[in-house]
Amino acid sequence: MTSPVSRGFHRRSRPAGAEAGKLPPGQHVTTDFPVLSAGPTPHTPLQEWTFSIRRGGQTLRTWTWPQFQALPAETVTVDIHCVTRWSKLDTVWRGVPVRALLDQVDHDAQYVLAFSDGGYTTNLPVKDVSGGQAWLAFDYDGQPLAPEHGGPARLLVPHLYFWKSAKWVRGLELLDQDQPGFWENYGYNNYGDPWREQRYTGD
């Protein structure tokens, strides 16, 4: 299909050279930090916060907030890409590599289902969270992560569309079989690679 040309439509501003190669197809750069959530923002006090790794109804490992904060954290600068078409470049986060958490349990699972306060879930292949490209982030831009952006802690999986970076995350369920999460059940792609523009089911 040839795309019809929109007379009078033109590029408003050309992304700087450094940005051009960093933008997946169909995305545009924002300098804001938009929020996309399905419901009200949960507020879990840090005294009640835990992060758990579960399998088949059993909790294999749990960290309290102080235990989690004692783990070695990294500062990372990454580009994030939301399925609603904004991308934010060079965002700075501090977080614990998910691999460091998974390494503390003995498992051979192929998939994880991240679960969050408020009932949100999202599914990911284990290889996407264990290869040094996923973090459990608690700081954004040098400040504690704000509740509307997923604080106290959220997943940060920047190589996939940002809904995979579950806000308010409280743990990972280890799975043998892939199981779609929240948005994946409501019409969004099961994997969500922005460079292949996997926005919706079937993309």
């Binding site: 929109s6 007379r7 009078g8 439509f9 033109h10 923002t41 409501y186 919706y200 993309d203």
Partner: protein
């Protein structure tokens, strides 16, 4: 026809622009003639792709403003520093063509079987998907009780005003920046006192839909949770920077 899941890939198709309606100084509704539309649920959105003469293209998502069975329409607010919305609200004319795919999103949607009572709360152009819900409710003959609380800067900024004015029992406005003399509606931001008068009691198991700018949605959702609305019955859609 309502669908609960999207199967297969959503293909781009060429839409022809039908009627264009100026809603306010900065907002217009654009009817789209689509050769292959599978129907949609109220609250869903669609993607638009514009292509320039030099091959540059840009994509955006817009809420569908119409009910299923009506001509598909989007309502677009002009953001002066935007790339696509100034084109859609200023340059686009009936008969023009552009690419569209959809419908998209199965969460922020309502159909008669979802029940209610319905509480719809809109900030600015967040009224668009809620208007689709109102129209779908009416067209489907649903008797689910509904209330819409719509926050706008001024009366001149109210989108769909003629249409909404006909729903005098169901629609309440609040104007945050300026009110005409003799204004009988609410003034100022949505607050607890306003919700005490508009929101269904939690005991009636209401279903709430909130759409608007992020700070608006955050504030209203918190007020509803404080009124003991279960979080699972408060559906939100946010736009704009935080």
């Amino acid at each position: 026809m309502a669908r609960t899941a999207v199967h297969g890939r959503l293909s781009w198709q060429v839409a022809t622009v039908g009627a264009v309606t100026e809603e306010t100084d900065s907002v217009r509704t654009i009817a789209l003639d689509l050769p292959d539309w599978p129907g949609h649920r109220a609250g869903q959105h669609l993607d638009v792709r514009l292509t320039a003469e030099d091959g540059y293209s840009a994509e955006r998502s817009y809420s569908i403003a119409s009910a299923d069975g009506e001509p598909v329409a989007i309502t677009v607010e002009r953001l002066d520093d935007g790339e696509v919305s100034p084109y859609l609200t200023r340059e686009l004319r009936p008969g023009d063509q552009m690419e569209v795919r959809g419908p998209i999103g199965n969460w922020f949607t309502w159909g008669p079987h979802d029940g209610g009572p319905l509480l719809l709360i809109a900030g600015g152009s967040g009224v668009v998907p809620l208007r689709a819900i109102l129209r779908h409710r009416q067209r489907s003959g649903s008797t689910v009780p509904v209330r819409l609380l719509y926050s706008s800067r001024s009366l001149a900024d109210v989108i769909y005003r003629e249409e909404l004015d006909q729903w005098s029992a169901e629609v309440r406005y609040t104007l945050t920046r300026s009110q005409p003399s003799g204004w009988g509606g609410f003034s100022g931001r949505v607050d607890e006192a306003m919700l005490a008068r508009v929101a269904w009691p939690a005991s009636q198991r209401p279903l709430a839909f909130i759409c608007g700018p992020t700070p608006f949605v955050e504030a209203v959702a918190e007020l509803l949770v404080a009124r003991h609305y279960p979080a699972s019955r408060v559906k939100t859609e946010r736009f704009g920077g935080a």
